[in-house]
Amino acid sequence: MIEYALWFAFAAFGIGLVFTLWRVVRGPHSADRILALDTMVINAIGLLVVYGISIDRQVYFEAAMLIAMVGFVSTVAYCRFILRGDIIE
């Protein structure tokens, strides 16, 4: 039973990645692209956690934690660059 749930979660996060990629390519405004990149980071964290469950290793939580932190910092940096024209003033 858990294998089918794992495959469903893999498919859901994978299709979510495709949707965010479409919005990154298409997005009419740079705020849309930043939002799509942020969602892409969240989907990548979900894929990592589901993969960690499927091969029964706990190492992937550290990777997911690091990706969450780097994704947050990069989103804030992009928005600061659009808002102020500079990241660290």
Binding site: I2, H29, G46, A68, L83
Partner: protein
């Protein structure tokens, strides 16, 4: 049919995986489907964060059943994402406002300084 603890854990893990995957899929689909940038801001920041929460609860239960002690560092990722999702949404909304909304369309700030996205912050701390 005996309801042993492993079967209940497996059902719980599967249920949380399916719920988390569904919420993440709905959030990512809203990013494609909705029309305006301000509408699009709603879908990923709420639904996708909830989907990640479901998947992380599933992994907590899974490793708690198989391992020796229950681990709580999945909760760290959940707390971190729940803390940072409103911040990123606020920043993205500000970045949208800078380019798409004129300052004259916004209500006055009833202070000496205008909106923070159009003007520099006050240099004097007494003006804050």
């Amino acid at each position: 049919m005996d309801w042993d603890i492993e079967l209940i854990g497996e059902i719980l893990v599967s249920a949380f995986l399916v719920i988390g995957g569904l919420f993440a899929l709905v959030g990512s689909f809203g990013l494609v489907r909705l029309r305006d940038c301000m509408q699009r801001l709603h879908a990923p920041t709420k639904a996708t964060t909830l989907g990640i929460g479901g998947v992380l609860i599933a992994s907590m239960i899974h490793f708690g059943m198989s391992g020796e002690q229950i681990s709580f560092h999945e909760l760290l990722i959940t707390v971190f994402l729940f803390l940072t999702a409103p911040l990123t949404a606020n920043f993205i909304a500000k970045a949208y406002l800078v380019y798409r909304v004129e300052e004259s369309d916004l209500p006055p700030t009833t202070g000496k300084y205008g909106w923070a996205i159009y003007h520099d912050p006050p240099k004097d701390p007494a003006d804050l």
